[in-house]
Symmetry: C2
């Protein structure tokens, strides 16, 4: 980490505006301020770090309230009633509403914790800054299109990718004729908002949609998007630094990065569809360094999932829907590992078949201490795998719920967070605490509404989440799992 | 008209809630209240009547201010600056923004005048009720998706169709494989709002989008939509009366109706794409009565335009993009007439080739006294045709405008309104007054922003319009054309 800090200080000396972020790159756990609330000062990538383990133990002088655990609920624009029951078609009328509410109303992929605030993006064209202790709205801003990612916070600005899931009729024709397809009907843009006021400071417009989260690195914003490009934009001015046409289109694959300690080079990685590929480009100039794929990718699976990076081992993990069977309308979920140095696929493990998930599909994986954790919407299971071999260590069925006399598999699109020896995950209406060594379910509570693709953010004794029905919530860990502070991994059976 | 009034009174006697609409069916000109503002009491179809001639001479006791001409501007959510210049990409950054702003921000197809109010739908998920004299907001309501039509007002409720233009990736695949295609990614619904308060009273959800305007007839709402159906819904309760699968998908073809004086039957008519057809169903039970088409329809042309009906002659007029030439990327605009009794195409006239218009394409025609009037976005011309033969009576080039040293054809997507011997039309940033006999341009003023597919609504001495940049405006006719009150058709050359 030392080299990075020096790099930022050098930038300050040469006159570049870096007023906030003398710490906080790379592993988010070292990004705390030296005084005040104790939340990270910056949030540079989806889930707060390349590993997607969104856990932030408070420093000694951090907020005592957050350490004990705060509890609040914030209702976004157009939120559905939390207690309406698990079947949102009862509220919205149409049988496929379940698919639509994950993309049309709420917070699609969880929240951001930075500088004493929780930031959330809403599919209902909003971004919110909330007080982390009280849940009170500090500001909200209307956005030019749907906002479906984690806000990225750095340098006094909040970066929000904007777009929508639609294809124009021109692109329907393009696909049929074998021509190139762009995703996004409405405005595609990345907007930067003033962290203090919510005022839009700049907006960078593109042809395709930019719903996934962006990456902030050293004064630039990076992202892959719906017109098949990787972009680098100056974080202060919003002007383009480079754009690389990598082909296909990105749907919801948030960019990630790998810092190569041997060469000092940063790679930016994101998934694309048609052609299906995980693509890595050089952050300096955008040239393509490698691309990787697996056989039999189905639908938009590759461009709908966000890669996870183990900064220490240089392995990149991506999952995608594979092996669609038309007769049974089932698919498998393939999780694969790519060597970030070479782009070689090291292994692929099939996580289990089930009904083909519609639309935005799979949980985003998390890697910690040599183990990859991921939810599987096709089976409802959560799986832990050896990150070097892909061998399954354990697999846990998150179970079912009942509604009006019928029983349903809990929809498992969540990515876990590992904090102080306990694995936390959201799925359906529920929050789970699991033993990370065995997968044993330690506790389960009903949070209301429905959680979509979300990695819980844990700060001190508090868990922060957004849900698909338009709520941002804070839960004390003690109400979820009373033994949270003392649990020893493996002690659960 | 007598028969209809009796039917409504009968409904009252049998206990059905009909408190407002004892007058006002059919030709909107007879729908004035007997006291008060003088605006129509109901607005049952796009542009206020089947002929799409949205003109309302005030009764003797109508509003003196509206008779003299009122002037105001109402700014909708997310409106763009009116004075930003004609090229909205200067505001929004991306070269194709012009196409997107007609579908993403403002009022796509004009406004509704009823009961002292101007009602406007916004692509930015809103419906507004404004005071017709002052432009002051009386209420606004957020809608579950984009609202791109004319609000229909009857029986104390305001009916708004909702949806979006996108295709899901599933539908991209469907088209490529020859399977059925549905339009609309987000929620598709028709919502009914309380005319007094804006409270949503009911919502009828569908699989596809419902952006076009609906028709109100005798206690029911009728519309064609993005899942290829014609629907009849009870206007008071929102429950389905019938649904007919007519195939294909409707994009922006607002329903119209023809009352057959010989049989007493009402037909409901709307356009669909894939297959391309203008479809008429019986309002009573939804059975298909006829369908009509012309050769070489291009893209979604047929389902993107709204049919016009001459109630007296029983002719239905529809235009569509035809004869696409790939080499030059040009198309023609075909206007055709259908005999509403038989569904036979009586004539088709090609209105002139030009650059193929993107997305939502053509002006909605208006018929008055045996003449059909229509704008042509491919050529920028407005054309008048004999409604019985399709012979062109005159054709007027609306001219060009300059912006930053370059010259552009004025985008002509407007439908005219004929009032007291003058033809009024909006195109680009401009409002035109023309002689209806010769097409001679009598006057032209710059209204700011950009007018899209809009038929001006004229009440007394005031013109009401919505524009694509998110403004609802009232213009005194005297500021547009000082001779408006005394002009004699044909006196212009």
């Amino acid at each position: 980490m030392r080299r990075r800090h020096l790099a930022v200080l050098a930038a300050c000396v040469s006159g570049v505006l870096v007023t906030f972020t003398l710490t906080g790159f790379g592993n988010a756990n070292d990004g705390h301020s030296s005084a005040g609330d104790g939340l990270p000062k910056t949030w540079t990538v989806y889930a707060g770090n390349p590993e997607h383990n969104a856990e932030f133990p408070l420093p000694e002088d951090g907020s005592e309230a957050i350490r004990k655990g705060v509890s609040w609920q914030f209702r976004e624009a157009m939120a559905l009633p939390l207690d309406a029951g698990p079947m949102d078609e009862d509220v919205l009328g149409y049988q496929a509403a379940s698919v639509k509410t994950t993309q049309m109303i709420g917070t699609a992929v969880g929240v951001t914790a930075a500088n004493g605030r929780i930031y959330a993006e809403s599919d209902w064209n909003h971004v919110y800054a909330l007080d982390a202790v009280t849940g009170r709205e500090i500001w909200s801003a209307e956005t030019i299109n749907e906002a479906m990612g984690n806000p990225v916070v750095a340098g006094g600005l909040v970066y929000v990718g904007l777009g929508d899931t639609g294809f124009s009729f021109s692109n329907v024709l393009n696909y049929a004729s074998g021509a190139r397809v762009t995703r996004g009907m409405g405005f595609g843009a990345v907007s930067a908002f003033d962290e203090k006021t919510g005022r839009e400071v700049w907006r960078f417009s593109t042809k395709g949609q930019n719903m996934p989260s962006v990456v902030y690195l050293h004064g630039r914003i990076y992202f892959g998007n719906g017109d098949g490009h990787m972009y680098a934009v100056d974080a202060t001015t919003g002007t383009q630094v480079w754009a690389t046409d990598v082909g296909g289109f990105n749907s919801m694959s948030s960019a990630n990065y790998w810092h190569d300690p041997a060469t000092g080079r940063d790679l930016v990685v994101a998934g694309f569809s048609l052609p299906h590929a995980l693509v890595a480009v050089d952050a300096a100039d955008g040239h393509e360094v490698w691309r990787a794929t697996v056989p039999n990718v189905y639908n938009t699976g590759m461009g709908d999932n966000s890669p996870t990076v183990d900064s220490r081992t240089g392995l990149v993990f991506q999952n995608t829907v594979v092996d669609f069977d038309k007769a049974t309308n089932t698919s498998d979920l393939g999780l694969f590992a790519v060597d970030a140095h070479t782009g070689a696929v090291r292994w692929e493990t099939k996580l289990g078949r089930g009904p083909s998930p519609l639309a935005y599909k799979a949980a985003i994986s998390m890697v910690h201490d040599g183990v990859v954790y991921v939810g599987n919407p096709a089976t409802g299971h959560t799986t832990a795998l050896n990150e070097q071999t892909g061998a399954v260590l354990w697999e846990t069925d998150l179970g079912t719920y009942s509604w009006k006399g019928a029983t349903y598999q809990i929809q498992n699109r969540g990515g876990p967070t590992l904090y102080r020896g306990v694995l936390y995950q959201a799925a359906g209406a529920y929050l789970f605490a699991m033993d990370p060594k065995t997968g044993h379910i330690l506790a389960k509570i009903n949070g209301g509404g429905r959680f979509g693709i979300v990695n819980p953010v844990i700060v001190g004794g508090t868990m922060y989440l957004g849900n698909s029905w338009g709520w941002v919530q804070a839960f004390p860990l003690s109400t979820l799992y009373p033994g949270w502070a003392t649990h020893q991994p493996g002690d659960s059976r």
